[in-house]
């Protein structure tokens, strides 16, 4: 029975169906299933599969986003119960995100936030056109592990460099890892400004973030 339920949970995330995911989460609680098992054996398997499908071109951004939304819906049902039981979904890491100063384009940054959050990272989203000192302040405040700076425009890419310099000035690196992304950004630029990593899409960003957390570098471009 739980196996069947876990399968349905996984499928609700792949289908990007928040209502179904919510119902299944409620059903799990009603049946006395450990909410942590529901996440790890059910819903999370769906988001992993969706990520893989996106990576090989079978799923597309709207699908991926719908999967992430369904994940969020399930987690919001399960989280209060987990807190009550004193169990907690493993926090993969704390990530501060924002777009570079002067850049208001946030589709990419929002996608990264959604995917990372759905996968178990704790996200602190500073929004758009964020000054370097705001990044620094937030990193200190929440004791972040990773800072992600997004820039769409070639003219605002310099803002990514400014954030990394500010982190260095404040002695926050190498403890805090700085990653960058955006349409015009390349791994070459990432190396040039001394970033710890770059990825070209939200799913690769998830891999990159996981790798940086475990200091293992394979997917994405975690730079030494």
């Amino acid at each position: 029975m739980p196996d069947q339920l876990f399968g349905a949970m996984r499928q609700s995330i792949i289908d990007g169906a928040p209502d179904t995911a919510t119902e299944l989460a409620q059903q799990a609680l009603a049946n006395g299933i450990d909410p942590l098992d529901a996440v790890n054996q059910g819903f999370a398997a769906g988001i992993t599969f969706a990520g893989e499908q996106f990576g090989c071109g079978e799923m597309f951004l709207p699908d991926l986003l719908a999967s992430a939304e369904a994940m969020k819906a399930a987690i919001s049902v399960l989280e209060p119960e987990m807190l009550k039981q004193g169990s907690k979904r493993e926090n993969l890491g704390k990530v501060v995100l924002g777009t570079a100063k002067g850049d208001i384009h946030d589709i990419g940054k929002n996608l990264v936030a959604t995917i990372l959050s759905a996968s178990g990272f704790q996200i602190f989203d500073l929004g758009t056109s964020v000054a370097p000192e705001q990044f620094v302040a937030k990193v200190k405040e929440v004791d972040a592990d990773i800072v992600g700076v997004s820039a769409l425009l070639t003219t605002t890419m310099a803002g990514q460099k400014a954030v990394i310099e500010a982190l260095d000035r404040n002695g926050l690196r190498p403890r805090v890892k700085a990653i960058i992304g955006g349409a015009a950004v390349t791994s070459k630029w990432a190396a040039e400004i001394g970033a710890d990593g770059y990825s070209r899409n939200a799913i690769d960003a998830l891999e990159l973030a996981k790798n940086l957390m475990s200091k293992v570098t394979n997917k994405g471009t975690a730079l030494a």
Partner: protein
């Protein structure tokens, strides 16, 4: 609104047909002896093999041509609609060379090449039909046409655009198709294949061509006229003049065909081209060649007939930028003209050579062309206000359920042949390499068609019999 493009004014179309009818009387049309009796009994005057076809007779024959018909797949489903502005694509056919992706040199095409082309075509929805794409030089040439069709039928469920090399070849090919679908009557009812039949420019329906038209008309198997004037070489140098010659050759073909089998399906097709004044070749990528195909098709449409053209090919020797540019633009223009069947994809070197890598690249151009002719559609009650009512000024369209529900209809989602990704850490891969990978993927995902053992045995018996008759049984591959 479906986007459409037109090159000929109604006045010019009338002039083209007017002069075409004049050409059918003077100088007349050279015809094969096979049709002399048939023409004489219809009151046609024939001197020294040249027939003068009076306009009333030609008009009468035109009137009996079906306005549209379907080709069927092996399962009996309607797969190609010849008629109206419906557009379909099939790979180019009948060349004798294959581009070797390892050496980048052309070599003689063999059975394994045809199998690969058929497998890839089978897997790509852009192609509504197969073609007998290459001649298999490892099979005896005496039964080359029959053998090609055998290979296609053994590896595909789709309809086939084909053609025969001889009268005996045609008989065997019709036998194969009949064995596949359950008899000649069934084949007439639900044709699986259309046969290209070519006049020789100018205005010559040779012995073989005439015979072919007659046999097809009597068997009720669709024929596709492939008139190929070369503007400036074997036809008037002006595009309008060549379109006129094409019309005259096609009208003559229809007359022979409909006299033999009134009501038998026939397509107003062609492979017209300009004559290249440097090389003396037929440049398939030239814009004027494309214009000729478009205009010839317009004349056919004016007559209310199903149409065909030869596009999506290139003169380049490689699958390179020239190949991409020439093939993509002609795919677009052919689709905008509403040509029912557009042959030619995969071909390079002015139709002398095939490339399966180009075929998968052309499939992307074709998909874009197919998207283009679908035009801009209205979905839902409002165009934008309904979606803005949900997003306000947040710009969060990616999250809307409409986005997820409609993006697949609004956008053609290209295969990995088309690179739209952001630059990653790995070096980017060029289009030809991506195409090679895609070919391998398609071939490995291909599945054997639903062909019964009984039909396979019948196929082999027909081919063996033909090979025996031609005295080449020992040369058949696998013998």
């Amino acid at each position: 609104m479906r986007p459409k493009i037109q090159l000929l004014s109604p006045e010019l179309t009338d002039r083209i047909l007017g002069e075409a009818f004049q050409l059918l009387m003077n100088p007349g049309v050279r015809v094969g002896s096979a049709v002399v009796e048939l023409l004489r009994s219809a009151g046609v005057e024939i001197n020294d093999g040249v027939a003068r076809l009076p306009e009333p007779l030609v008009r009468k024959c035109l009137a009996s041509v079906p306005r549209d018909f379907y080709l069927y797949n092996r399962q009996g489903g309607k797969a190609v609609h010849y008629g109206g502005d419906d557009v379909h694509f099939d790979p180019g056919s009948c060349c004798v060379q294959m581009l070797d992706p390892d050496t980048m040199e052309a070599r003689s095409s063999e059975t394994r090449d045809l199998v690969r082309l058929v497998q890839v075509t089978e897997m790509l929805p852009q192609f509504a039909a197969q073609s007998t794409a290459v001649v298999c030089t490892d099979a005896p040439s005496a039964i080359g046409d029959l053998y090609r069709l055998l290979v296609v039928l053994e590896h595909s469920d789709k309809p086939v655009v084909t053609g025969s090399f001889s009268a005996a070849g045609l008989e065997g090919m019709i036998d194969l198709l009949a064995a596949d679908c359950g008899g000649r009557d069934k084949l007439r009812e639900q044709p699986r294949a259309v046969f290209d039949v070519c006049p020789s420019p100018p205005l010559n329906w040779s012995e073989f061509g005439s015979h072919n038209l007659l046999d097809l008309a009597r068997a009720g198997v669709p024929a596709e006229l492939v008139s190929m004037p070369l503007a400036g070489g074997t036809a008037p140098v002006t595009l309008a003049g060549s379109v006129t010659q094409h019309a005259a050759e096609s009208l003559a073909g229809i007359t022979l065909h409909q006299l033999a089998g009134p009501g038998s399906p026939i397509v107003w097709g062609g492979a017209p081209a300009i004559f290249d004044m440097r090389s003396g070749g037929a440049p398939m990528g030239a814009i004027e060649t494309v214009m000729l195909n478009m205009a010839c098709c317009e004349v056919g449409k004016h007559l209310g007939l199903p149409t065909h053209g030869y596009l999506v090919a290139t003169d380049s020797k490689f699958v390179d930028a020239q190949a991409g540019a020439e093939s993509a633009r002609s795919a677009m223009l052919g689709a905008l003209t509403g040509i029912n069947m557009i042959s030619g994809a995969g071909m390079i070197e002015s139709l002398a050579c095939h490339s399966v890598e180009k075929l998968v690249m052309d499939a992307e151009s074709i998909a874009s062309a197919q998207r283009l002719v679908r035009g801009i559609e209205v979905r839902g009650e409002t165009l934008a206000t309904g979606m803005f009512a949900q997003t306000g000024l947040s710009g969060n369209f990616l999250k809307l359920k409409e986005t997820r529900a409609l993006f697949r209809q609004e956008q053609h989602l290209p295969s990995s042949v088309i690179d739209r990704s952001a630059r990653g850490s790995e070096p980017p891969i060029d289009a030809f390499t991506r195409a090679r990978t895609r070919v391998d993927e398609l071939v490995s995902n291909w599945q054997k068609p639903s062909l019964t053992e009984d039909v396979r045995r019948k196929f082999r018996a027909i081919v063996d019999r033909a090979a025996d008759r031609a005295g080449v049984a020992a040369e058949l591959p696998g013998k």
